[in-house]
């Protein structure tokens, strides 16, 4: 029929194109408003570090566009890998249940590598739903840009919408057109996530496994992170635990390879203290303003810092002055928006950390004092 005279005539008629547009709208809704896009996937549990940011961005988008039935009573955790690892939902759920009855499962939508610009962009989507409490977790280096530190990366690119550009990116014409397209056309907005999800539905990754609810010891965690190298990493970790010094900690961190310490050294050498009005500060400010405008009950948690860094007297791995300047900026922004601020920087001992930045999932105990703070806000 397509090759027939009738088909050729149909191709030239405006009604064909109008009907095609109508079909596209229906197709768009059938994908972006249903379980086709938002149903469970293997993709979201990928163990491939290169895919994790995209998978976690997908989970965060699902929290905005396909929220649970009890979303309005829920606790949402925003941040990056510090909170993703540091407050696993099963641990925090149990700690919260001892303090407040009937809280639905915590939604930890931390995204690896997310900076202030990524969170600001994510908030443009999240405010379409409700939540009882949103916890904005932030490290003192999340407002600065340096080698290995981005204010806005993959989450911002995948979730870019709105009438204004992100304060954290310098947007060219192509970026602006993309943002407008994503704003008005859901299938364009979710095209990368849709492709990943459809590919997963056709051929699920057989190696994908959900991160365990309970991490019972460091060996278990190292097996997930380092595979065959887990034994020697565990041995180096135990050497550090027997002899808790910065030197032993560095040996442990270098055991899987030089990438982590190289990144931290470059980041520390390249980062400058954030200034008021700088892109990171403006993105954080916009994030808090948007959550306040949407009527979300928000608390800002400044994440724990590893006390082993006190031995870093030549400031190779961290810069206390930069951290203090960032903290002052975060505190001032929270005060301006009347958001409670929790300073968790000194909450944990060095044994509670996986590395310089990340509390050990479960084992670090970060979920307990965090649950205390969340319960305080939840019940108020």
């Amino acid at each position: 029929m397509i090759g027939s005279d009738a088909g050729r005539q149909a191709a030239a008629r405006p009604v064909t194109w109008m009907l095609g547009l109508a079909f596209l709208v229906l197709l768009d809704a059938a994908v972006t408003r249903t379980r086709v896009l938002w149903g469970p996937t293997a993709f979201e549990h990928t163990g491939d570090i290169r895919q994790m940011t995209m998978a976690q961005t997908y989970i965060a988008a699902r929290a905005a566009y396909a929220p649970s039935a009890r979303a309005a009573e829920s606790v949402v955790l925003l941040g990056n890998s510090r909170i993703w690892l540091g407050a696993r939902p099963a641990d925090l759920d149990a700690a919260l249940a001892r303090r407040v009855a009937g809280v639905p499962p915590v939604e930890n939508i931390g995204i690896f590598g997310a900076g202030a610009g990524d969170l600001e962009m994510l908030s443009r989507h999240l405010v379409r739903r409700r939540a009882r409490v949103v916890v904005v977790t932030v490290g003192t280096d999340d407002l600065v840009e340096a080698p290995g530190l981005r204010l806005a990366g993959i989450p911002e690119e995948l979730l870019r919408i709105g009438t204004e550009p992100s304060p954290a990116v310098r947007e060219e014409l192509a970026g602006r057109l993309d943002r407008w397209g994503r704003t008005v056309w859901p299938l364009w907005r979710f095209r990368e996530l849709t492709r990943a999800v459809l590919a997963d539905r056709l051929r699920p990754d057989p190696t994908a496994r959900p991160f365990p609810d309970k991490v019972t010891d460091t060996r278990m965690l190292f097996e997930i992170m380092h595979g065959a190298a887990a034994g020697r990493v565990e041995a180096a970790y135990q050497r550090w635990r027997r002899e808790p010094s910065l030197a032993r900690f560095l040996e442990y961190l270098a055991e899987p390879g030089p990438a982590y310490l190289d990144t931290i050294a470059r980041r520390n050498a390249g980062a400058r203290a954030p200034a008021p009005g700088a892109p990171g500060a403006r993105a954080f400010e916009r994030l808090l303003a948007r959550l306040a405008e949407a009527g979300w009950r928000t608390v800002v948690v400044v994440m724990p810092e590893n006390p082993v860094l006190a031995e870093d007297t030549d400031h190779r791995w961290h810069d206390p002055a930069r951290a203090e300047a960032a903290f002052a900026l975060i505190a001032a922004a929270a005060a301006r928006h009347d958001v409670p601020l929790v300073d968790a920087r000194r909450w944990l001992g060095a044994e509670a950390f996986l590395d310089f930045d990340h509390p050990l999932p479960g084992l670090g105990g970060f979920h307990e004092p965090l649950a205390e703070e969340v319960a305080r806000v939840y019940g108020s």
Binding site: M1, G7, A10, V15, T16, L19, T53, I154, L187, T263
Partner: protein, 42 residues
């Protein structure tokens, strides 16, 4: 009923459906590339 009249609407609907599918496929598979995270200590 005129046979051409039957063929006309059917052709329009089929063409329109193909156009919609083609656009969706191009958007999803043509521009929906995977964003790869380069590990830099999270």
């Amino acid at each position: 009923m005129d046979p051409e009249g039957l063929a006309g609407p059917a052709a329009i609907v089929l063409r329109a459906a193909l156009y919609a599918l083609a656009v969706a496929a191009i958007v999803i598979w043509g521009t929906g590339e995977t964003h790869v995270f380069i590990y830099q200590g999270f």
